[in-house]
Subunit: 241 residues, 4 copies
Amino acid sequence: MAADSGSAGDYGTSDMQRNADESIADFASHLRALEETLSPAQEAPPRIPRQARSREKRDEILKAAARLFVRDGYAQTTSDTIAAEAGVSVGTFYNYFRNKRQALLTLVIERLDGIFSNIRLAQMDFSDGHPREVIRRAIGAMLERGNSGLRRAWLEVMAQEPELQPYQQMLRQYVLVRIEDALRKAEARGETWPELDISATALAIFTLLDTISLRTDTGIDDERLADALTDMVYRSTFPQG
Amino acid sequence: MAADSGSAGDYGTSDMQRNADESIADFASHLRALEETLSPAQEAPPRIPRQARSREKRDEILKAAARLFVRDGYAQTTSDTIAAEAGVSVGTFYNYFRNKRQALLTLVIERLDGIFSNIRLAQMDFSDGHPREVIRRAIGAMLERGNSGLRRAWLEVMAQEPELQPYQQMLRQYVLVRIEDALRKAEARGETWPELDISATALAIFTLLDTISLRTDTGIDDERLADALTDMVYRSTFPQG
Amino acid sequence: MAADSGSAGDYGTSDMQRNADESIADFASHLRALEETLSPAQEAPPRIPRQARSREKRDEILKAAARLFVRDGYAQTTSDTIAAEAGVSVGTFYNYFRNKRQALLTLVIERLDGIFSNIRLAQMDFSDGHPREVIRRAIGAMLERGNSGLRRAWLEVMAQEPELQPYQQMLRQYVLVRIEDALRKAEARGETWPELDISATALAIFTLLDTISLRTDTGIDDERLADALTDMVYRSTFPQG
Amino acid sequence: MAADSGSAGDYGTSDMQRNADESIADFASHLRALEETLSPAQEAPPRIPRQARSREKRDEILKAAARLFVRDGYAQTTSDTIAAEAGVSVGTFYNYFRNKRQALLTLVIERLDGIFSNIRLAQMDFSDGHPREVIRRAIGAMLERGNSGLRRAWLEVMAQEPELQPYQQMLRQYVLVRIEDALRKAEARGETWPELDISATALAIFTLLDTISLRTDTGIDDERLADALTDMVYRSTFPQG
DNA sequence: CATGAATGAGAGTTCATTCAT
DNA sequence: CATGAATGAACTCTCATTCAT
C-alpha cells in the first residue's frame, strides 16, 4: 500500500532524515505549547522534593496512580488506593500532590506526548509533495504511543470539573487549526478535491484519529489499521489517490 | 442473524430493516437479562406497573433521570436529584427502580435506537447502485437522533462496571459485521478501491461516525458535517467519487 | 439601692407596666434587627423538616450540639460527637444542617436574646428621668440570661472564619451606636458629666457589660454584681450619683 | 517597673512592687511545672540550649511562633508554618520544643508581664492622695503593652485544655485580691463611696480593663480611651470626682 | 543538631439505599 | 404505593509528631 520513493534520487533518505529531525523539534515545540496551555490549571505541589529518594518516591506514586487511573478510571480510584498501590501512606500521597486531581494533571503534563498523540496531526505538512507519506507517518506515530488510558481518565475529570473544559477545548483547537491550515495550503495549490469543506473535513479527520487512538483492542493489527486510516484520510482529501 | 440476499431483489431493503429491528430487539433482551443479573431480584422486584397513573409516574421519573444524566453525567446525578426533578420522593424512585443503575439501564433499553443511532450504519445497502445516497442517508439519520447524552452516560457506567462491557462489544460487533458485509458485497461487484482492507475500513468508518454522533457542539452545521462525512466515507471506499 | 418613685402620682405602676411592655416590644424588634443582620451568613438547610417528629429531632440535635459547644468549644466538638450525643447517625446530622458551622449559626440565631444579652443595652433610654433604674434594669436583664457558653462558641468560629467577622462587627455596632445615642441625648439635656467622651465611654460600658455577661463563676452573687455594675456605669456618666 | 514613691510611707510602694514581682515569679514557676506536667519528659527533653548559636535559633523560632499565634491564632498555626516562618525545618522546631503547646507555654512564660499586663492593676496604690493619677498610670501602662495577641492564644489553648484553667484562675485571683486591697485601704481612709461593694467593684474594674487590653482596633485613640477608662474607674470609686 | 519525608489517626462531608409510617 | 427521615460506609484531605539520614 505504502508507496513512497520519489521522482528524485539518492539523497531521499537524508532528506527524510532531516525532515524527521525537524519534525521532532517541531513536535517538541508543539508539546511545549500544549504544556503551556495546561499549566495554568496546575497549582504548585505542596512539597517540591529535593532529595533524590524523594523524586523516586514521587515517580512511584505517579506510576501507581497511572496504573489505577487506567485500570479503574479516575473516579473509582481513591487516594487511599493510590497510596497503597505505591506502598506509602495517604499522608505521603498528599505530601507530593495537592489532591487527586493534581496527581492526574501532573501525569497528563508529564506524558503529554503519549496521551495527546493527536498533536502529531498538528505537524502534517503537505507542501513537500508526498501527502500520503506525511499522513501515514502522522498516523503511525499516533497509534504507536500508548497512553490512551490516561487520556480516558483525563476526559473523565473534565466531565466532572467544568473548569477544566476550556483546557480540553484549547488542546483540541490547537490541533484542529493546524490541520485546517495544512488543508488550506494544499487547497491553494489546487491539490485537494474541489469544493472541499475544509473545516468539516478537518473536524472529521481529527475526530476519527483522536478516537481511534483511544482504542484498546480492535482485533486489527496496528499496521493494517494505520494503512487503512491513511487511505481514508488521503483519498477523502486528495483526488486521484 | 445476517441475511444477505442478493444484488437485485426489491425486498432487500425491507429485509435489512427487519434485520436491524431484530438485532435491536436481541440487544434489548440481552440488556434485560443483564439487568436481572446485575440487580438480583430481592423480594419484590419493581416491575413495570400496569395502571395508567403508575406508568405515567414511572415515565416522569425516567424523563427526569434522562435529563439529569444527560446534563450532569451519571455519577454526578444523585437519586435525590432525580426524585426532586421528577417531583416525587426518593422512596418513590426506589419503588420503580431497584437502583440508580437500573434506571439508566431501563432508559437505555427503552431508547435503544435513539441512543445507539449507529445501528443505522448496519442498514447500509450499496446494492442499488447509489452508494453515495445510501451513505448520506445513514449519516443524516445518525446525526439527527438526539440521545447521544444518554449514550455518554451509558459509557460512563460501563467504564465503572466491567460486566457491562460485553454488551457494548455485542452491539459494536453487530454493526461492524454489517458494515463489513455491505463493503464486501460492493467489493465483489468490483465497486470499491482495489485491495481495500475491508475490516480495517469498516472499523474506521464505524469509529468515525460513532464518535461524531456523540458530539455536542462542533461549531459546524449538521448538514455541512453530514456532507463532509459522506464525502469522506464515500471517497475512501468507492473510487472516482 | 433602687430608688424610684417619682414626683407624680399613683399611676406610676401602670407607667412602669407600659414601659415594660414597650420595652419588650422594643426588645423583640431589636432582636429581629440582629437576626436580619445574621441571616445572610446562614444558608438554607439541606432539608426543611415537615413532619412533627422531624422538628423534634432537629431540636434534639440542636440541644446536643449546644451542650457540646458549650462544654468543649466549637473546634473540639466533632460532627460525629454531636450525632452520638443526639443519638442519631452522622448522616442524620447532615440532613438537618449543611455543616457544623450552620448548626452553630442556627443555634445562635434561635437563641439570640440569650446569647447577645447585651442588646438589652441598646434599649436604654434615659429620657424619663430615672437613669439609674434604666441602667439597673438593663444590666439585670443581661446577667440573668444564660447562654454565654454559646456566645463563646460563636466567638470561636469567628476567630477561625474571617468571613463571619463583619457580622460580629455589625452586632457590636448596633448596640454601640444605641448606647452612644442614649448618652448623647442625656448630654444634650445637661445630665452627664461635662466633657464626657461619649464614644469612649460607650465603648467602655459596652465592653464591660459584654464581657461580664460571659462570666462563668465570679464568686459573687448576681444581684450584688448587678448593683455594683449599675453604680459603676451610673456614677461614671451622671454626676452626683 | 513603675517607680512612683510618694509622700507617705516609703516602703509601701516597694512592698507592693516586691509582691507583684514575686507573684509573677511564682506564676512563672507554676507554669514551668505545668509545662513539665503537660509534656511529660520522654527520653531527652528539649532544654534551653547553652550555646549562643542555638539560643539564637530558639529565639528565632519563638519569635516566628509568636508572630503567627498572634496573627492566626493558636489552632490555625501549624508546626510547619512556624518552622517555615523561622526559616528552619519542622525537625528543628521539635528539637527545641516538645510540641506546639510547649512552644506557646514557653512564650507565655518568657513574656509574662507583656502578656498579662493586667498585673499592672495589682500595683495600684491609692495611699499617696492622687488616686486619679495612679489609675491613669496603671491603665496607660496596660494599654501600651502590646502582647495581647499572645494572651488571646493562651486563652485559646486554655479553652481546649481544662488542666490549664487553674493557672488562669491563679493569676486572676492575684490581681483581684490586690485591687480589693487597694480599695479596702482607700475605704478605710474614707475616700471611697459609702457602702461601696469592694469585691464586686474590683471584679468589674478588673474585667473591664482586662478585656479592653485585648482590643485590636476600637476606632478610638488609645489616649482618649485611657482617659475615659480612668474617669470611669475613678468616678465609680471615689466620690466628687 | 539539622533536615524533611513519612506517618496515620481523625475530621468533615456525601449519597445510595432502606424502612417505618 | 408514597413519603422522606435515617443510616453509615466511604471518601478526601489535614496536621502533629517521629525518625532515618
